[in-house]
């Protein structure tokens, strides 16, 4: 087929393009991810019984703030990476800042604690299951985010896959906060971050294969 004929093909019968396609796709993906993670959490793990009591404490909201900030940051990063020629800009700072803050606060807690109590602060009671649970809860979000990205045009596939995976992981962690009884800052800094890292790495590995266009 000659190029002129091909251009005719492309230009014939073009319909107006939806300018909000990206917003809609990511809106659906985040909704599916959040609803899916919350549903699985409530059915498989159960909402923590004292949620009503802890929900009025500042430390609970500090805990929520970590995945929430990472989620906003990775959502912003993913939407930028989904468009050709748009740089990450400052969006990666919004991911790094909450994690750095939790690490800093966690370090303070550990330094202030007596030596023999430090390991217990890091491990909590649920360190064995925490990253695994977060990875499990991130599955619906992961599928939804990759669906959204496949309909867009990312050109840096490893990075985009990682950002998408982190979006799914942070959404899952947000839901997991409604179950997880751990209130130690060092615990969040290690196990929540590890849990979010699992879908991030899977996303980076699968990105080049799943997101090619």
């Amino acid at each position: 087929m000659k190029t002129d004929d091909f251009i005719s093909l492309l230009a014939t019968g073009v319909a107006p393009v939806d300018r909000h396609a990206l917003t809609k796709r990511f809106g659906v993906a985040v909704l599916v991810g959040a609803a899916g993670a919350t549903l699985i959490m409530a059915m498989v793990l159960g909402i923590r019984r004292d949620l009503a009591e802890v929900a009025v404490t500042p430390i609970f909201w500090a805990k929520i703030a970590l995945p929430l900030c990472v989620m906003v940051g990775s959502l912003w990063t993913s939407t930028r990476l989904a468009r050709p020629g748009v740089r990450m800009g400052g969006s990666s700072w919004l991911i790094a800042a909450p994690i750095a803050a939790v690490w800093l606060a966690g370090a303070f807690v550990l330094v202030a604690a007596p030596g023999d109590a430090r390991l217990a602060l890091v491990l909590g009671k649920t360190w064995r299951v925490c990253p695994f649970n977060i990875a499990m809860l991130s599955i619906p979000g992961f599928v939804a985010v990759f669906w959204a990205l496949r309909g867009l045009a990312p050109t840096r596939l490893v990075l985009t896959g990682a950002a998408g995976g982190l979006l799914a992981g942070s959404t899952a962690t947000l839901a997991y906060c409604l179950h997880c009884p751990e209130m130690g800052i060092p615990f969040w800094g290690v196990w929540y971050v590890l849990g979010m890292l699992v879908p991030t790495i899977i996303g980076a590995v699968l990105g080049p294969r799943l997101l090619r266009w």
């Binding site: 087929m1 002129d4 093909l9 319909a15 266009w213």
Partner: protein, 190 residues
């Protein structure tokens, strides 16, 4: 010609192409065809200057990048420069092309300057080596028929729906998915 006039010319070109492209996004087929024709000439000139031994692949790549621009057109954000958006797409497709040829040495060279993209156009298309018509024939019917009727014969979506027995939304989805599948078939021929 010195670089300042080059840049002024490129800015004028950017504004001109952007106007055509934005009209195309609003559904103006005439403006959109003009946009693709002019962009094709720029891509051709650009690729012929850069692909030293692969000049015969240039026309294939022009078609492939035009298809990629078309398939990604909903990701353009009005406030961004159009050249940067097209440049990133062209770079992505060219990287893919070089990777298939294991020409890693050339990866750093070809598309570094977005502004180069809109330098001298080349209006003389060569014969493409890959026949997109044949690749289109390989698509499944629910994608091929909407493309043949809507895009090649110029029928409306409603007429195509009546002719094929598909629903109107199935016709629209068929065109959309078919052109994405065509891009995947092009990747498969490398």
């Amino acid at each position: 010609m010195n670089r300042t006039t080059d840049i002024t010319a490129a800015q004028a070109k950017e504004a001109h192409l952007r106007t055509l492209f934005l009209s195309g996004l609003d559904g103006d087929g005439v403006a959109y065809r003009q946009f693709l024709t002019e962009l094709g000439a720029h891509l051709r000139g650009f690729l012929r200057r850069r692909l030293y031994d692969g000049a015969s692949d240039a026309e294939d790549l022009v078609q492939e990048i035009l298809l990629a621009v078309h398939n990604a057109r909903h990701t353009y954000r009005t406030q961004e420069p159009l050249t940067a958006w097209i440049h990133a797409i062209a770079r992505y497709k060219l990287t893919d092309y070089f990777r298939a040829r294991a020409r890693h040495d050339a990866l750093n060279d070809p598309l570094d300057d977005a502004f180069e993209l809109l330098a001298a156009p080349d209006l003389e298309p060569a014969q493409a080596r890959r026949d997109l018509g044949k690749l289109l024939d390989q698509l499944p019917g629910r994608q091929r028929l909407p493309i043949v009727h809507v895009k090649l014969e110029g029928l409306s979506v409603t007429e195509t729906a009546k002719l094929t027995g598909l629903s109107e939304s199935a016709v629209k989805i068929g065109v959309h998915r078919g052109l994405k599948a065509l891009a995947a078939k092009i990747r498969g021929t490398r």
